[in-house]
C-alpha cells in the first residue's frame, strides 16, 4: 500500500520530467528521449498499480512487457523519420523547421 503510493508518485515525476523535456528543449532528439521517459514512467505506474506483497500481479507484468515493446517500436519509427528530417534540414533545431510549431 505504502510502496504503491510511493511508486505512483515516482511514475508521475518521471512523466512530468518527460513532459518538461518535450516542452522546453529545442532539439528533436531530446523530444524522442522525452517520449521514452514518459513511456518508462507509464510502465512504472502500471507496475505500481499491480504491486502486491513482494510481487506484481501477472496482468500488470504482461501489460508492462507489451508496453515496453511498443515503446521500442515507436522509438525506432520516430528515429527513422528523424533521419529523414535531418537529411532535409541538416539540423535538429526545432526553430529551423517551417511548420513544426505547436
Amino acid at each position: 500500500m505504502f510502496l504503491q503510493v510511493f511508486y505512483a508518485n515516482v511514475a508521475l515525476v518521471m512523466i512530468l520530467i518527460g513532459f518538461y523535456c518535450i516542452a522546453s528543449k529545442r532539439n528533436l532528439l531530446k523530444i524522442v528521449i522525452g517520449i521514452e521517459i514518459i513511456t518508462i514512467g507509464v510502465n512504472l505506474n502500471i507496475l505500481a498499480m499491480g504491486l502486491m506483497e513482494n510481487s506484481v500481479e501477472p496482468l500488470a507484468q504482461e501489460m508492462a512487457i507489451v508496453s515496453i515493446a511498443i515503446g521500442a517500436a515507436v522509438a525506432a519509427v520516430s528515429l527513422s523519420i528523424l533521419i529523414n528530417v535531418y537529411r532535409h534540414y541538416k539540423t535538429l533545431d526545432t526553430r529551423k523547421l517551417r511548420r513544426l510549431r505547436w
Binding site: L12, S24, E53, P58, E62, A73, S80, I83
Partner: protein, 92 residues
Amino acid sequence: MKAEEVVAGILLALLLIYVVAINPDIFRISRVGYSIEFKFEEKTYFIWTNRWVDVAIQAFMLFATATALSALFREEKVEEAEEEVVVEGGEG
C-alpha cells in the same frame, strides 16, 4: 527562457491537479477474484493462454515497424516536378 517558465507553471498546475484529484485511498477498492497464489513467475504460460492476442498483435506490430523502416529508408528515384505547396505565413 520565458517559454520554460510557462512550461514550469503548467507542470506545477498539473501536479496540483494530481494531488487534489488522486488520494491514496483509490488503490484496491475491489479486486475481482485475485488470488495471492497466482504468481506470474511460476505460471508464465499465463501470457500465452490468457493474453495471446496481445502478444500476437505486438508481433505484428514489430513486423509493421520493420516494414515502416524499410519504407522510410528505401531507395528513391530522382524526383520529378511535384505538386506545388502553398505555405501561408504566420499561422498554425
